[in-house]
């Protein structure tokens, strides 16, 4: 590079008068040319790669909004993390969403430009060299690796036999007649190891394939989240999903419209008693002592049926690590929970609300959710805030706890809210306006199958059932095969780019009395140590095939040259 700069400096410039001491200001064209040249340099690419690494490291250690939004919100509020001011600075720098930040994308674009700038000339050069037939060798006796043999065979025959040896080693070959050869003797020129550069190019091209695959998925794919209670169903249409992330050009018509019904759901846990009191196990017994056991889910699965046009076409289990694919749509088991079924009636028997309420885990096996009971009269709405203890008991302080995640002894507590709760808004019921409503002082506590009156309101609540709900992710991934192809190409390219090496071997046969004098010589561009061994093996093989003896003369010469390498 220093050479190039020197060359441009001595050239007369149009921008400044000759002999001027003013610094020369390069024009926009020249600036661009220089930037392009700099971008194509390997060291620039390396620095960009390291900068990208730093960005990824930042994205690992700073919580990322798309991955864990709650933690980010806490950092912004200053309730956790390094404090509000730092969080504000992080926000300004886009550190809470590194992988979506403009500077990250700019870095990627620069790196891809740099890669393209390096790759295009390399591909051209590679195509040129790969097409070229092996070149004739000159001054073979001067090469580091060379052997002279004497054989009773005539030159043509000797070259034929040597050719079998190199053919077995999968070298490309070219025979050069004595008249055309630089050494004046018939020659066999061979070459191998284009796989190194080819592999390296394939490895780098695979990035474009991977990026293309990811883009196809992002643009034409679809991801939706849906929670279904046991016995309920959903259809693959846009409105069915609680959270839909269609790609920019995902067509509406690409929804398949089949109906998925959750027949039932099962979860099993491994219970490890962590306390010292093994007698605290009796289910149904409310008062227990001792520490709680730890529970680890060992398996959870949903049995679903898929119907098309009212007919069941498939019935299958979906579990983690075992998704269901139907008609190009994949159904993944991602989460699950409990959905208590309640019925709310007025005291005269009119049913106000009957549904299963999808609860989410609030920690410690306690489940929470909100049932919007009455929303028609805007200023007199009723909502139930539900708290479910699947396996209710009391801890040592006498506070209610759930002792396990399994619904062994469920208790449902319903806190009744009345007032202008804003339930009519297009928001999840759990976000009702607590500040405008009024909470009834006494929560209703129910066992499964029990009915209770609400104190202060003419309502009764019945806890009718406790099914599970199952959360699925439904995806269409049109770029999937492109991604897999890219990954395959990367691995296929990577291995030869590290292990293959280019080397050339020549065999020259001079007529020598009855037989011939054969010179075998070789040179390697990479992995010279490996080639040294391979060449020895080849030389032995050729000598054996020619029935030859090694010519003694050049031996000492060979020794000294080899030591230098």
């Amino acid at each position: 590079m220093t050479q190039t700069t020197a060359a441009t400096d001595t050239r007369p410039r149009e921008s400044g008068p000759r002999g001027s001491r003013l610094p020369e200001i390069p024009g926009p064209g020249e600036t661009f040319a220089r930037a392009w040249k700099a971008l194509r340099r390997m060291s620039t690419a390396l620095k960009l790669l390291l900068a990208l690494t730093v960005a990824v490291i930042l994205g690992t250690f700073v919580p990322q909004e798309p991955v864990i939004p709650t933690t980010v919100a806490e950092w912004r509020l200053g309730t956790s993390g390094p404090g509000e001011a730092t969080a504000a600075a992080f926000d300004a720098l886009g550190l809470f969403d590194v992988f979506g930040a403009w500077w990250f994308n700019a870095l990627v674009v620069l790196l891809v430009t740099s890669l393209t700038g390096c790759l295009v000339p390399r591909i051209r050069a590679f195509v040129r060299t790969a097409r070229r037939r092996p070149a004739a060798g000159r001054n073979l006796a001067r090469l580091t690796h060379h052997v002279e043999l004497r054989t009773p065979l005539p030159p043509g025959e000797a070259l034929d036999r040597a050719e079998t040896a190199v053919t077995r080693r999968r070298f490309r070959r070219r025979r050069i007649a004595a008249d055309d050869a630089p050494g004046g003797a018939a020659q066999l020129a061979t070459e191998r190891g284009h796989a190194r550069e080819g592999g390296s190019i394939a490895f780098h091209i695979s990035f474009y394939v991977l990026v293309t695959g990811a883009m196809i998925g992002h643009t034409f794919g679809f991801t939706g989240q849906v929670n279904v209670v046991e016995g309920a169903s959903f259809a693959d249409t846009r409105i069915a999903y609680d959270l839909a992330q269609p790609g920019r050009w995902f067509p509406f018509a690409a929804h398949r419209g089949f109906v998925v019904e959750l027949e039932d759901f099962s979860a099993s846990y491994l219970e490890t008693p962590s306390g010292t009191d093994p007698g605290a196990e009796a289910p149904g017994d409310l008062v227990t002592g001792g520490a709680l056991s730890t529970f680890m889910p060992t398996d959870f699965s949903s049995r679903v049926t898929i119907s098309e046009g009212g007919e069941v076409v498939r019935e299958e289990e979906v579990r983690v690590n075992d998704p269901l694919s139907h008609d190009g749509v994949s159904l993944y088991q991602v989460r699950f929970g409990l959905a208590p079924q309640i019925e709310v009636r007025t005291t005269d028997g009119t049913v106000l609300y009957t549904d299963s309420v999808i609860l989410t885990e609030a920690g410690g096996f306690v489940w929470q959710g909100v049932a919007p009971v009455a929303r028609t009269e805007v200023d007199r709405q009723v909502a139930l805030e539900l708290i479910l203890l699947p396996d209710a008991g009391f801890n040592e302080q006498g506070l209610p706890v759930s002792r396990s995640p399994e619904p062994r002894n469920p208790r449902l507590a319903a806190v009744v809210w009345v007032g202008e709760l804003g339930l009519e808004r297009n928001r999840p019921p759990s976000e009702f306006q607590r500040d405008r409503g009024q909470q009834l002082p006494q929560p209703v506590i129910l066992e499964l199958g029990e009915t209770a009156q609400v104190q202060g309101l003419p309502l009764e609540i019945e806890f009718t059932g406790l099914p599970y709900w199952s959360g699925f992710q439904v995806s269409q991934e049109p770029g999937r095969w492109v991604l897999l192809a890219g990954a395959g190409l990367m691995l296929i390219g990577l291995v030869p780019s590290l292990y293959a090496y280019r080397r050339r071997v020549w065999v020259e046969a001079h007529p020598d009395g009855e037989g011939s004098r054969v010179v075998l010589a070789g040179v390697a561009l990479h992995r010279k140590g490996v080639f040294a061994e391979a060449f020895e093996g080849l030389a032995d093989d050729v000598a054996h095939r020619l029935g030859a003896v090694e010519a003694p003369a050049p031996e000492p010469h060979l020794e000294t040259t080899e030591r230098k390498a």
Binding site: S43, A45, G59, V67, V320, P323, Y332
Partner: protein, 393 residues
């Protein structure tokens, strides 16, 4: 589900392997101390060294077999593949490093005298396994897939290879520094200061492997007497390095790491002292190390070996994530961690063929890459909340 008797025997086999690795490490270092290095940098063990080397090899091989038995019984006890938590993973990393060291570094490439350092890496990994001990048990559904054999085993193979690569890279940096300092002091004073004072007939120094042998040169380790000149440069190399920094730097790094991860002062003290001892051993061993150029080549060969495996591990992880969570890449901390580790090793491979970065620059990227690997493994599992944190310890 878990068989307590098998689990207990797995633990005792682990302890036995741990002890034999420590003893083997000590004997390997003993062997290193009984090595002579000629001017051209050919290490050759003395008789005591050869005996020690054979003993150490036997000990390490035996330890690896016992360790394998421990891993297998652990898997049988839990009735699954034995690499589902950090204890098991760290244990297998150590085993992989020892096996790779014995088969490839010692047997195939003939660098047996570096095995003490490889074993030190394995012992550290096993110590972390002990600190992260978990009883044998089943796994959460997300881990219960045939992909655990593919993705996790590939990650383990690559990581053990990278442990060995780090040993070579670190030794290269040490040796290279020593060679450079000796060369500089030679240039300044017209001779190796310490070496020349001790041995006035010091011949061509610090030529490394690249230089041609002088005419009429005979291998000094071949003869019994008159090989004093062979030591001139190597001893100067040791003198050129600070005997304080060598135990101090590993002490601080390892102690800080243990203190942050486990918050246990006793473990910190023990690990710190072990690291300090290791640092001193490295300082003492500098003259016996192969020339820097050879160590550099060794590190490159090992990383070139591990990189495709790591690439495959990351890819298999993406495919598994697709099966388990419905997306192949979600910028989860473990994913980004494995990605920046990959980027750094890719950077190392590129740096080695970039002007201005070859040698020390590339080696430092290699060191960073290993640090990234450790961060991805320990920090992301233990401190950062993400999808992989179900793996816990």
């Amino acid at each position: 589900m878990a068989d307590p008797q098998l689990a207990a025997s797995s633990n005792s086999l682990f302890n036995l392997a741990f002890v034999s690795y420590i003893v083997a490490m000590a004997v390997y270092f003993f062997r290193l101390a009984f090595t002579r290095v000629s001017v051209v940098g050919v290490p050759k063990a003395t008789r005591a060294g050869s005996v020690a080397g054979a003993m150490a090899t036997m000990l390490a091989t035996g330890g690896a077999l016992v360790h394998l038995a421990s891993i297998v019984t652990r898997g049988m006890a839990a009735d699954r593949w034995p690499w589902a938590n950090m204890y098991e993973y760290s244990s297998i990393l150590a085993w992989g490093a020892v096996v790779f060291g014995l088969l490839v570094v010692q047997r195939r490439w003939g660098y047996g005298h570096l095995m003490g350092f490889v074993l030190a890496g394995a012992v550290l990994s096993m110590t972390s396994a002990l600190l992260l001990f978990t009883e044998a048990g089943p796994v959460v559904p997300a881990l219960d897939s045939y992909w655990i054999t593919i993705h996790t085993s590939a990650a383990m193979v690559a990581s053990s290879i990278f442990i060995v690569a780090f040993v070579a890279t670190a030794l290269y940096l040490v040796k290279d520094t020593a060679e450079r300092r000796v060369a500089r002091s030679d240039a300044e004073y017209g001779g190796s200061t310490v070496g020349a004072a001790q041995l006035p007939r010091a011949p061509a120094r610090h030529e490394g492997s690249g230089g041609p042998r002088p005419e009429g040169y005979t291998d000094p380790s071949a003869g019994s007497g008159g090989d004093a000149e062979a030591y001139a440069s190597p001893l100067a190399q040791r003198e050129a390095l600070s005997p304080v920094a060598f135990p101090l730097v590993p002490l601080v790094v390892v102690a800080a790491f243990v203190l942050i991860v486990w918050r246990d002062p006793v473990a910190t003290l023990i690990a710190g002292s072990a690291a300090a001892l290791l640092g001193t051993a490295t300082w003492y061993a500098v003259p016996y190390l192969p020339p820097a150029a050879k160590l550099d080549a060794l590190a490159y060969r090992i990383i070139a070996f591990g990189f495709p495996v790591w690439t495959f591990a990351v890819m298999a992880g993406a495919i598994w994530a697709q099966e388990a969570w419905g997306r192949y890449w979600g910028w989860d901390p473990k994913e980004t961690g494995s990605f920046f580790t990959w980027l750094l090793y890719a950077g190392y491979l590129h740096a080695r063929s970039t002007r201005g970065w070859r040698g020390r620059g590339a080696a430092w990227i290699g060191v960073l890459a290993f640090v990234a690997l450790m961060v991805t493994y320990y920090a992301v599992n233990l401190f950062i909340v993400g999808l992989h944190s179900y793996a816990g310890v």
